[in-house]
Symmetry: C2
Subunit: 225 residues, 2 copies
């Protein structure tokens, strides 16, 4: 998160402004959460680096016959590309174009919900802006946090971005079809993850081959119970 | 950048605070720039997503016999891993651990410079925090901006993160050794880049094979003239 924003160095931004910004967001997030839970909708905040495969993961999920009604919102600074891809994949989706903002906040999600028939769905994905830092500290009202981490990003990311990984309920290791072409040490990633998350949960998936997508759907189904 | 920080939505953070934060950073950046230019040091702000290969690019550069004296600072939220790697590769480097901050700012770089013999180098790399959003708007006093974009991140990143690419002098397309294993459309990337940058400049490199690293060194040498 920005050291000049609501979450960083209090010597730069007055502490009372920082706290009121985050308190306001938390208040709106709680409002979102109450409505979503009341309607029995599993809301998932899907985060990850740019190009980590968040949209591709949901496209692959849509290809499965899960029988679940899925909807999404998709955050992007400047385009509706991800939202368009999800809609084309059969997931009704509303784009949230953030302009300069590096993360979604609870207000943006709330506004989007007001334009959707979200009560009709069972799984509601909030695809966040591609960023491994700032999105982690903005509660959106979700029931679960998922981080998509691609194998090409390296094994050390949990150590380098601990706040993101500490906030996650599930790490989805994406693009595992590329593993034969990489010098990637899965044990090193598991070790790094275990150092920042007490009980890490990780699934290996490939949107390309479909590997692990069923297990991902099972995790969601269990979480929704 | 955060909509709650110095650079985003003025309805959230008071506009006068936002402007004074950025003005203060710009002032410090200008101070850094004057000292660096006076000493004839080429300062480069190296940005890119987490795992885009920024550190590996500099490691590969260090392997070339450029005859250049290179130093660096390396920003990371929580570890000194990248800095340790660069030091091991023969590039004297100081780690800037940002804690929760998603980008480097001019103050952090200024502080680091005071602990280094930076006047002894010709090329000074400022490896930013892995983030394709926020680092773009914080001037550090650099002479050039470089974005490392890996082929696994997809062709659409310039469209999705336009501010970052608009601020760049050179895009270094990394991990091109993986191209045979990907469904990557280089023409689509070039097209996306041309839509946001008037005169885009891009080099294709692989830290793994060494492809393109000499061309990268030549670009730097020319820029330093």
């Amino acid at each position: 998160m920005c050291d000049t924003c609501g979450c960083g160095d209090p010597t730069v931004i007055p502490v009372e402004i920082r706290e009121s910004l985050l308190a306001r967001n938390d208040h709106q997030a709680q409002h979102n959460r109450e409505h979503l839970e009341e309607a029995g909708v599993l809301a998932v905040n899907l985060m990850g680096s740019p190009g980590s495969g968040k949209t591709a993961l949901l496209e692959a999920l849509a290809k499965l016959s899960t029988g679940r009604r899925i909807q999404a919102v998709s955050g992007d600074l400047a385009t509706t590309r991800d939202s368009d891809r999800l809609t084309a994949a059969g997931i009704p989706c509303r784009a949230i174009t953030t302009g300069t903002a590096c993360h979604l906040d609870a207000d943006m999600v709330h506004h989007a919900l007001h334009h959707m028939e979200w009560r009709e769905c069972e799984w509601f994905f909030i695809e966040n802006v591609g960023n491994l830092v700032c999105p982690a500290i903005y509660d959106l009202g979700q029931a679960a946090n998922i981080v998509a981490l691609s194998v090409t990003e390296g094994e050390d990311k949990p150590l380098k971005y601990p706040v993101m990984f500490q906030h996650t309920d599930l790490v989805v290791l994406t693009k595992v079809d590329l593993l034969p072409h990489l010098d990637f040490d899965l044990a090193a990633l598991e070790d790094a993850l275990a150092r920042v998350v007490p009980e890490p949960r990780m699934l290996r998936v490939s949107a390309q081959t479909g590997e692990g997508i069923e297990a991902f759907a099972e995790w969601l189904a269990k979480r929704a119970q």
